[in-house]
Every structure is written in structure tokens, then in C-alpha cells.
């Protein structure tokens, strides 16, 4: 029932920007579907193998911005072999052939080659924005093509990628006419940086708001850069080490004072802590502070810095801050929304830097907290119950107790009740990661209460298939379920095959699912890709005459409309 001409409806749709909402619009009726698809400019594809470029282009011919995600999340932790897949080249090739006016490309966990970057840079005249997160497969040569060929480049944002640094001159490949840069993030590059080219680039980029330097940019260069970019909003400091000579340091102090728009600070890969005080004048404006790579900043220098940051909304920190430091955060940063506490000592030296007390302090002091990632050595149910009471607004709650299967350190009980309290209180919880000693009970709670839960990460938890079943049956909005080292098997896997159509993907590694279970699933659900990742020769699983009772080490299944992918390596067996 359309009372309005299409153009009017389309104009209304322009105000609807979220992917979820636009997807919902397209389901209303054929007419809306048609209008929506021709007006859609931004498309998000959470699993690049769920569809293919041809279908994407058929449906959304006016595409301008594409976000693609490739490997499953556990690939971040080396659980997925490098060659598993997630290649972006076919996508870029198809987009190039179709002459769509691509302007933005955001990729996460994909394999990007120099060839893809070169093709990208040459195929889209209006290409503006490239964001690569946790990708791999390319070198600085690829970056050079982007720099050289994208005339209107606005964003080049490289976050935690593995880039082969050929120590070339990619920065000098930006033509002198390039003045449009808004974001330049190359913090993850390991090699030397052409400082002269960098300074000239920054000097001719009046719109540059976000600059994140790599380790190779020393303090005096930083001073110069900041002097010519006082409009900076987001700064990633590279190397901040060594005692700068007083002149450089004075210059830096002066430059920082001028950056009144600075809101976000990160980096400090190498830092001379006592130089931090240069940043104190602008700390009161900071809304985001990422010191999670700054191993050298702790103790009183860190505390002093934080005490100036009263408006902080996002804080990423190392656990060397300690419970006491977190108490300072709790009393200072009343606007805090997101906190991440990373472990600083992975050798398990037993330095109990942060405990449940720090978490409780934060929850008590920061009423706006909605996202947390917390690595710690120990936890108690009582603490989690308190946290749940203090912060019923959690959207993301990720707790990682470093030692698997560790119980409540006071009562020696499993942490079921603690996590149960979290899911019960936090009605908007969308993402949850569990750790510590957990029985099926926690999954009962999750199934009962976590109605909005979309992503759940399970490791070393549960007792029987019931645990997984509680989750599959209860969490209606589940999208991504990833499980490792937990005793869930075929019964749980096969209980409700249609559930997987409502989810993006399921990952199970080192669980109890067997080959025959997976085969059974694949037969019942042809619209799923059921992948067995087996780092020995897959054929062997077949030859073995044990009727498929052998356990599958890594199972990754996902819904797809395009069937089996053709680019799987030999050790991935798609049933």
C-alpha cells in the first residue's frame, strides 16, 4: 500500500541507515524491496562466504560502501590455518568489472594481496576509504598503489594487520595533489618510515583528523607533526622513548597545547613515562585513551595521567594498572562506557595485577559502563553478582580468567551463579564471553535470560550436550556461537538443524562432535556449509573405517545462499 510515489518513499528510506533496519524495510513488500535495493549504498556482509559478489551486485547496483568479514573470530587466536580462505580479490574483481562506484571498503580478517590493492586503487575513481582490520597477505607495495592512485583518498586505516614491510617509500607515493586525507593509521607497520614524506603529507592535509603513527616515528618528529596539524582529533603516538632533548620536548609541549580538538590518544609503543606530563594539558578533553600497548607506562605516571582524564568514555589499558589503579579510574572517569584490561604478562608469572576487586570497583564507580573486556587471574561469584547489580546495562561482557577451569577462588564453586547474575540483570546483553569453571548450569541461565544475546564465546566449559542445547534453544537472537574445548557433541549439534539458518555461524573446536554427526548435519541442511578443518590430510578421515565415529577437531558451519565455496584449501573439507 503505497500512498506515496517511489521517490518520496526513497527519500524517507534515506533516513534509515542501520543495516538491520534497512533489511527489515526490504522485507515489507515487493515495492519496498525494490525501492530499498536501488537506494542502498552501504552493505554489510558478516560472512564473505554467505553470498558472492554477483548476487551482491545484482541486488544492490548502486553500492558505494562494502564491509566484508572473512575468517571466523577464533582465527585471531591462531585456531584457523592461514590459508583457510577469506580472499578479497574475487570481490574486488567483480566490483571492478561491474563498474560500480565503490567509495568505501572495510575488511576484517580477510586475505588481501598487493594485487587486490592495486586493482582496487585503479578501478574506482571515487574511492575514498579503506579500512583493514586484522587482515594479512599484503605489503607496503600494496599501500603504495593505494597512495598513488586514489586521488580522493580520505581514509587509510590499518588496524592490527600483518603487513610485510618492504621499507619502501609508500608514503612518498601520495602525490603532491593529495590533500584530502582525513584518517591515516599505519601504526601496525613495523619498518622505518620516511619522516620527510610523512611530514609533508601531514602539512598538506588540512582535513587530517586521525593520525596514528608507527613505532618508527620518534618524539621530535611527533612534535613537528603536531605543530602542523593542530586540528588533530585522534592521535596515535609512535615511539615516545628516550629522553628528548629539552628543545624537542618544549616544542612538543607547545604543540600539544595547541591541539585543543584532541579527543583520542593511543600508541606509546615505546614510552618514556615521565614525558607523559606533556599531554596533561589536553587530558581533560580526552574521551578515548588506549594504553594497551604501552607496557612501560604504569605506576604513578599512569595514575597521574588518568586523574586528568575526567571525560574518558573509552579506556584500553594493561592489567599492570592494578586494582588500585582501577579504583582511581572508577573515581575519576564517571563517563566511562567501555573498558578493556589486557594482560601484560603472558608467561603466567602469577602477578595478580587485577582481580575481581578492580572489576567491582569499576562497576560501582562507572554507571555508564556498557562494554567490558577483562583479563584477570581470579574471580568470584560474589563479585560478579555485585557487578551485575551495579551495571545492569552491559551490552558486551567479556571476562577472561587466564587459567581455564578456574573456580571461584574463595568458594571453589563454579562461576555459574556469577555469570547467571550477569545475564539475568543485563537485559540488553548482546555479547558474552565466558571463562573459569563452568557447568551446564550457566548455560541454563544463558538460555533462560540472555534474550538479546547475539554472540557467545565458550571455552573449557560445560559438562554435557545439555549445556549447548540450553543455548541453542533459549537464545533466539544468537548469531555467532563459538565453542572450544567443551564436551558438546552430536546430540547437541543435530538437535535443531533449522536453528543454524537463523545464525551467521557456529564454530566448534576440540569438542565431541564426530564426523558422522557433521555429515548428518550437512545432509539435513544443504543450505549450510559444514566445514571440517583438519590439518592432516582430510582423505584420511574418509578412509578410516570407523563409521565416522572419530571426532572432528575443528568444525565451522555457516549459512550460505551460494553453496560450497570453491577456494577452500585441501585441509578444509566441506561436507
Amino acid at each position: 500500500m503505497n500512498y506515496f510515489p517511489d521517490e518520496v518513499v526513497e527519500h524517507v528510506f534515506d533516513f534509515v541507515t542501520s543495516h538491520k533496519d534497512r533489511n527489515a524495510i526490504s522485507l515489507v513488500c515487493k515495492s519496498w524491496y525494490k525501492i530499498e535495493r536501488y537506494s542502498r549504498q552501504k552493505v554489510f556482509i558478516g560472512n564473505c562466504y554467505a553470498t558472492n559478489p554477483e548476487r551482491l551486485l545484482r541486488r544492490f547496483p548502486c553500492l558505494k560502501s562494502l564491509t566484508l568479514k572473512g575468517k571466523p573470530h577464533f582465527a585471531d587466536f591462531n585456531l584457523v590455518p592461514h590459508e583457510w580462505g577469506g580472499f578479497v580479490l574475487p570481490w574486488i574483481e567483480a566490483l571492478a568489472r561491474s563498474r560500480v562506484g565503490l567509495e568505501e571498503l572495510r575488511l576484517k580478517r580477510m586475505v588481501v594481496t598487493d594485487e587486490s590493492l592495486e586493482l582496487l586503487s585503479r578501478s574506482f575513481v571515487n574511492f575514498k576509504s579503506l579500512v583493514l582490520v586484522s587482515c594479512e597477505g599484503f605489503t607496503t607495495d600494496g599501500l603504495a598503489s593505494i597512495a598513488a592512485n586514489c586521488r580522493h583518498l580520505r581514509d587509510l586505516d590499518l588496524q592490527e594487520n600483518e603487513i610485510d614491510d618492504h621499507r619502501g617509500q609508500w608514503l612518498s607515493c601520495f602525490p603532491d595533489t593529495c590533500t584530502t586525507l582525513v584518517t591515516l593509521n599505519f601504526a601496525c607497520l613495523e619498518g622505518e618510515t620516511n619522516l620527510v614524506a610523512l611530514e609533508r603529507l601531514v602539512a598538506r592535509s588540512p582535513n587530517l583528523k586521525s593520525l596514528k603513527l608507527n613505532r618508527a616515528v620518534p618524539l621530535d618528529a611527533l612534535a613537528r607533526l603536531m605543530s602542523c596539524a593542530p586540528q588533530m582529533v585522534d592521535l596515535g603516538v609512535g615511539s615516545y622513548e628516550n629522553d628528548p632533548d629539552s628543545e624537542s620536548y618544549l616544542k612538543l609541549q607547545a604543540a600539544i597545547k595547541k591541539c585543543t580538538l584532541l579527543r583520542s590518544l593511543s600508541g606509546f609503543l615505546e614510552a618514556a613515562p615521565h614525558c607523559l606530563s606533556a599531554f596533561h594539558p589536553i587530558c581533560h578533553n580526552l574521551t578515548s585513551l588506549n594504553l594497551s600497548y604501552a607496557a612501560e607506562i604504569h605506576g604513578s605516571h599512569l595514575i597521574k595521567l588518568i586523574q586528568h582524564c575526567k571525560k574518558l568514555q573509552r579506556l584500553w589499558i594493561l592489567d599492570s594498572i592494578g586494582d588500585k589503579g582501577l579504583e582511581v579510574v572508577a573515581s575519576t572517569c564517571k563517563e566511562l562506557q567501555e573498558l578493556r584490561v589486557f594482560p601484560s604478562d603472558l608467561l603466567g608469572g602469577g602477578n595478580t595485577a587485577v582481580t575481581e576487586e578492580g572489576l567491582v570497583a569499576i562497576s560501582a564507580g562507572c554507571p555508564k559502563l556498557h562494554s567490558i573486556l577483562y583479563f584477570c587471574q581470579q574471580m568470584t561469584n560474589a563479585a560478579l553478582v555485585t557487578v551485575a547489580k551495579n551495571c545492569p546495562n552491559f551490552i558486551r561482557f567479556r571476562l577472561c580468567i587466564l587459567e581455564p577451569n578456574k573456580p571461584d577462588h574463595v568458594t571453589s564453586q563454579p562461576l555459574d551463579e556469577g555469570f547467571g547474575a550477569i545475564v539475568k540483570a543485563c537485559k540488553s546483553l548482546r555479547r558474552l564471553s565466558l571463562s573459569g569453571l563452568l557447568t551446564d548450569q550457566v548455560f541454563l541461565y544463558i538460555g533462560m535470560y540472555a534474550n538479546q544475546l547475539e554472540m557467545l564465546s565458550i571455552a573449557f566449559a560445560g559438562d554435557t550436550d545439555k549445556g549447548m542445547l540450553y543455548v541453542l534453544n533459549g537464545c533466539k537472537k544468537m548469531k555467532k556461537l563459538e565453542i572450544r574445548d567443551s564436551p558438546f557433541g552430536d546430540t547437541a549439534l543435530l538437535a535443531d538443524v533449522s536453528k543454524y539458518e537463523t545464525m551467521r555461524s557456529l564454530w566448534m573446536s576440540s569438542c565431541e562432535v564426530t564426523l558422522s554427526g557433521c555429515k548428518g548435519l550437512a545432509e539435513k541442511a544443504p543450505w549450510l556449509n559444514v566445514e571440517i578443518i583438519n590439518e592432516t590430510d582430510n582423505n584420511r578421515m574418509e578412509e578410516n573405517g570407523h563409521e565416522g565415529r572419530q571426532k572432528v577437531d575443528k568444525l565451522y558451519l555457516y549459512r550460505t545462499v551460494v553453496g560450497t565455496r570453491m577456494d577452500a584449501p585441501p585441509f578444509v573439507w566441506i561436507l
Binding site: 594482560p343 604478562d345 577451569n405 572450544r484 578412509e543 571426532k551
Partner: protein, 326 residues
């Protein structure tokens, strides 16, 4: 011949006294727990004998721990064909020392995770990752009985633990931290030798390891080794399945086609040499510089065929001739 490879990123080579047990950690290839020299000898012995598979298979076990008994109904892993054996038994069945670890051994057998197996010698560092309680999760009906015994188990294991300073027992992919972060932190903290706290730092330095002919590359954490010997043994273990298996890759079901000659060559280890790419992008033979310098400059590792590396004299500079495997 096969064993499933896990990323070696967190594994260590324990230079422990003999009495090391086989570790069966996530079912199969836990490369970390065995005296490397033991393996090497084993392989040599295999060659001298009549090259039947069993004798020549690379295993993590001590020579005493035989494999045939493994192929029972463990469920997880069964021998693929009569000729192929699992390299690593699910449990250290014959290993008497191992039985000290767990009274639950038999219960565990039905399940695949022998976490507690790994505890004995690894966990010298208090607070290190100790999934000894992993048994808890495996024994579903017995969940209530287990915890106490696990705690006892743990303290027992603690007492008998190996106190080698380099020991860290870590699960693959745990704690869940991106390698990027681990590497970055490692490079930062390695310069902090004068920290008052004396914290050891993050100790992770992942480099990619590729091998000619192998279908995929691995990553190793250089900080888990303290000398070339360890690195070399670890790599040998990691990639041996390729050396032995690659004959199979050429044929349809090529396992049977493996020729004796090729096997011998591969086992000799002379077929392949280990090279690395340094900070300047040059490929060098591994082993010429002191270990510490090596870890600081090594960007990538490659196991090249001996013939391809002829130009790489010790200390010589040569660009890699082989196709890039990144």
C-alpha cells in the same frame, strides 16, 4: 603418516630430564613436551631398521612408549590405515611416570582432552595456565566427585613439576589474545631489561614459517626457544608430516607410494635447510649468529630444499629464489 599440527605458537620445548611424558594435549600433536634429542635418535634408529612405518614415525614419546596400544577405542583418533599410526597416543599408556599424573587416566581415555596429562612437568610457574581442571569438564556424570581430586591432582602435579624457568604450559590460542598484540608487546617489553619489577615480559615473538612444498605455513613463537637446537627440533616435528606426507600429495591416495629412498632422504634432514629473512630482507642460513641476535632480526623462516639454498653460504646475502609463501 600423519600427525595433526597445531600452531606451535605457545608451545615450548622443554629441556627436561628424561622421564618426560608424552603429552597428548589436544589429542595429537603437542610438539612441546619432549626432549628433542630423543626424537632425533629415534628417527635415526628408524632409518637403520627396515624403514617400516612404525619404527620411523616421528613421535613425541620417549622410546619406551610404544604406540600400538593406542589404537583402541579412544574415539577421537584412530589409525587411518593399517600402515599409519598416530604419532601421539591419546594417553601415555605405557608411560609409567605418566600414571602418576592421573588416577583418572582411564576415565579420560574415553574423552579426548588429557589436560591433566600436560600438567606434570609444565607447570613450574605458579599462576601459569593450568587446565588441570579440564578433567572436570570431561567427566560429566562424575562432576561432583572430581573437583576435590582435581585439586589434589594439582597439588601433586605441582610438587612434581619441572622447574625449568622457560617452562610455560599454554593451550593453543589461549588466552585469547591476538598474535599481533602479543608480538607488539613482546617487542616493546624486550627492551625493558632494567625494569624494577623484573617482569619477564610478554615473551611472544611470532614469525611465519613456510616450507617448500607444504600446503600451508605455520607460526612459531621464537621466545619459547632458547637456542637453535630447540627451534630446529620443533620445526622438524612440525613439518615432518609434510616431508613424509608430500609424497602422498603427488598421487591420488599416495600414502602407499612413498618410496623408501625419499623417506630416507627426508629423515636424514639433509634435504632441507633452515633459512630466515632478516630485517634487511635478506635470506640467511639459520645458525650463524648468536641466538639473541637471531631472534631480534628474524622476520620469517623458511625451510628450503637443500639444492635451493646452495647459494646461501653462512652469512651470505641472497634474496630468496623461491616463490614467496606469505
Amino acid at each position: 603418516m600423519s600427525y595433526r599440527l597445531l600452531s606451535v605458537d605457545k608451545e615450548e620445548l622443554d629441556i627436561s630430564p628424561p622421564g618426560l611424558k608424552e603429552r597428548n594435549y589436544l589429542g595429537l600433536s603437542d610438539c612441546s613436551s619432549v626432549d628433542s634429542s630423543t626424537i632425533h635418535n629415534r628417527v635415526q634408529d628408524g632409518e637403520k631398521s627396515n624403514l617400516n612405518f612404525k619404527a620411523t614415525e616421528l613421535r613425541l614419546g620417549l622410546p619406551e612408549s610404544q604406540s600400538p596400544e593406542r589404537e583402541t577405542d579412544f574415539g577421537l583418533l584412530s589409525p587411518r590405515t593399517p600402515d599409519e599410526k598416530l604419532l601421539f597416543p591419546l594417553l601415555p599408556s605405557k608411560d609409567t611416570a605418566a600414571s602418576a599424573t592421573i588416577g583418572h587416566k582411564n576415565v579420560v581415555s574415553g574423552n579426548k582432552r588429557g589436560f591433566a596429562d600436560t600438567w606434570d612437568e609444565f607447570s613450574s610457574v605458579k599462576g601459569s595456565v593450568r587446565p588441570g581442571g579440564g578433567i572436570n569438564m570431561m567427566l560429566s556424570p562424575k562432576i561432583k566427585d572430581v573437583p576435590k581430586s582435581i585439586l589434589e591432582e594439582r597439588s601433586h602435579a605441582k610438587g612434581g613439576s619441572n622447574n625449568a624457568p622457560a617452562a610455560k604450559a599454554q593451550v593453543v590460542g589461549w588466552p585469547p589474545i591476538r598474535s599481533y598484540r602479543k608480538n607488539t608487546m613482546a617487542s616493546s617489553t624486550s627492551k625493558n631489561t632494567d625494569e624494577v619489577d623484573g617482569k619477564p615480559g610478554l615473551g611472544a615473538l611470532f614469525v611465519k614459517v613456510s616450507m617448500d612444498g607444504a600446503p600451508y605455513l605455520r607460526k612459531v613463537d621464537l621466545r619459547t626457544y632458547t637456542c637453535y637446537q630447540q627451534l630446529s627440533s620443533a620445526l622438524e616435528k612440525m613439518f615432518s608430516c609434510f616431508t613424509l606426507g608430500q609424497c602422498g600429495l603427488h598421487g591420488a591416495q599416495g600414502r602407499e607410494r612413498m618410496s623408501e629412498i625419499k623417506l630416507k632422504d627426508l629423515l636424514h634432514g639433509s634435504e632441507f635447510v633452515l633459512t630466515y629473512e632478516d630485517k634487511d630482507g635478506d635470506w640467511m642460513l639459520v645458525g650463524d649468529v648468536p641466538w639473541e641476535i637471531f631472534t631480534e632480526t628474524c622476520q620469517k623462516l623458511k625451510i628450503m630444499k637443500g639444492s635451493d639454498s646452495i647459494g646461501l653460504a653462512p652469512g651470505a646475502v641472497e634474496k630468496s629464489k623461491n616463490k614467496d609463501r606469505v
